[in-house]
């Protein structure tokens, strides 16, 4: 049974092999569904010079924002780098490179990376600075930009429940970029809230099949809320 048991017992094990200069794909949107313990482990590990692909870069002091504190990130590929004072400072000081990518293009580039599609055309960004230096082609009289797939040396992913085979489901909108990152990582590490018994997850409801998952760990999560909005 060992062959399909993806469980590891420590966060150190979970990120074994992560080295300076690697590319890391991170799931999450804002602070929702971020692999917060895996990020904290990267901070503890002190890995430097990382390229991080994530829609956002956390906030000051939480999520990927933690990795800015010790200048562990060399380059961010994101659609929105958000309200993050340290981020702003490092960007203006030239310590941090940012490759802004439209959110839907970013999602599709990661999807393509996992699916073995090296490049695809999209109308997004045609005629804007995003298209500069990229091939533009017309299909049916409309202009499209050629965009390339993204893959990562590691993918760090936050799931809700998983079985030991690495079959994962996500909770509500915490799904977001997580299944895309999971499929596009050479080594994919998933942390979840609960590891359930084999057979408990219906085959048809699984959102990330275990084939994409190399390591699985159960964690506890703060789940910080970025914008708490309520009605009366």
């Amino acid at each position: 049974m060992a062959g399909f048991d993806k469980r590891v017992t420590s966060y150190e094990q979970a990120l074994e092999g992560l080295e300076d200069g690697m590319t890391v794909l991170a799931g999450g949107f804002g602070l929702c569904g971020i692999p917060e313990n895996l990020i904290a482990e990267i901070k503890r590990k002190g890995t430097k010079n990382l390229t991080v692909v994530s829609n956002n870069c956390g906030v000051d002091g939480f999520g990927l924002g933690l990795l800015l504190e010790d200048r562990q990130i060399r380059k961010m590929i994101s659609s929105y780098v958000g309200e993050n004072a340290l981020f702003e400072k490092q960007l203006l000081d030239g310590e941090l490179e940012v490759e802004l990518t439209p959110q839907g293009t970013l999602a599709e580039k990661m999807r393509a990376g996992g699916a073995g599609v090296p490049a695809f055309y999209t109308a997004t960004g045609y005629g804007t600075p995003i298209a500069e230096g990229k091939e533009v082609r017309q299909f049916d009289g409309r202009h499209y930009v050629l965009e390339h797939a993204i893959t990562g040396d590691f993918a760090i992913v936050k799931g809700w429940k998983a079985d030991k085979y690495g079959n994962v489901i996500y909770r509500h909108t915490a799904r977001n970029f997580n299944p895309l990152a999971a499929a596009a990582g050479k080594i994919t590490v998933v942390e979840v809230e609960e590891i359930v018994e084999p057979g408990e997850l219906e085959p048809g409801e699984i959102q990330t099949p275990g084939i994409y998952v190399d390591r699985l760990i159960c964690g506890t999560f703060e789940k910080r809320i970025e914008k708490r909005t309520v009605r009366d």
Binding site: F29, G30, L31, C32, G33, N55, S78, S79, Y80, V81, G82, E83, E88, L91, L92, V98, L100, P102, Q103, G104, T105, A107, E108, M110, R111, T122, A123, T124, G125, Y126, G127, T128, P129, I130, H143, W160, Y170, R171, H172, T173, A174, R175, N176, F177, N178, P179, L180, Q207, K223, R224, I225, E226, K227, R228, T229, V230, R231, D232
Partner: protein, 219 residues
């Protein structure tokens, strides 16, 4: 009188149709949800991966795993579905959204829109705006007609970096509702009490003014 933010939202809501799937941007567009006509139903899409956004949660309902594209805590309504971000944008890119409402810094007579970047200021990123303007069949831009300094936002050519090229056909400002046709703005309606002269004065791009420009009507 220039329209208030609420009136702008109310006027845009007049473009909704029963059964529309709608994506509302941050700011004034968000307010449109408050003015859906009685007896009409629309489904709100949030591009992080929620189709069928409900109201904000009560204190008891708050769930960090349920947020919208503005990162606010929300709920899901009956009939909602949740998907990953690639699928959420497949919906947008594939032209399945009936109406997108979003703000802008500038729009020009070619339907170009600039809404994400002011050079020299820090760049926060475009988020999903470029995908939305490229993907939606039907877009309404909401913005003030001119900046606080009185500079027109309706230009012959956008001067800021674009969000999308040739994709805007309809604009609702605090002064007027305009459409873009054959390389010009066409003045369709004016805000109650706003003169055609004021709109002409505050529109830098070519403006076609029909003989009769009705005032908007609010219930």
């Amino acid at each position: 009188m220039a329209l208030t933010r609420e009136q702008m939202a109310q006027r845009v809501a007049g473009e909704l149709k029963d059964g529309f799937y709608v994506n509302l941007g941050i700011g004034i567009p968000t307010l449109v949800a408050n003015y859906v006509p009685v007896g009409m139903e629309v489904m709100l899409q949030s591009e992080n991966g929620l189709l069928g956004m409900g109201p904000f949660p009560t204190e008891d309902e708050i769930d960090p795993d349920m947020i919208n594209a503005g990162k606010q805590t929300v709920t899901a309504r009956i009939g909602a579905s949740i998907m990953d971000s690639a699928e959420a944008f497949a919906m947008i890119r594939g032209g399945h959204i009936d109406l997108t409402v979003l703000g802008a810094f500038q729009v020009d007579v070619l339907g170009n829109i600039a809404s994400w970047m002011v050079p020299g200021k820090l760049i926060k990123g475009m988020g999903g705006a470029m995908d939305l303007v490229a993907g939606a069949e039907n877009i309404i831009v909401t913005m003030t007609h001119a900046s606080k300094d009185g500079e027109s936002k309706l230009l012959q050519r956008c001067t800021l970096p674009l969000t999308g090229a040739g994709c805007i056909k309809r604009i609702l400002t605090d002064l007027a509702y305009l459409e873009i046709d054959q390389g010009a703005f066409v003045l369709k309606e004016r805000a109650p009490g706003v003169s055609v002269g004021e709109i002409v004065e505050k529109t830098a791009g070519e403006l076609v003014v029909p003989d009769h420009v009705p005032e908007m009507r609010f219930a």
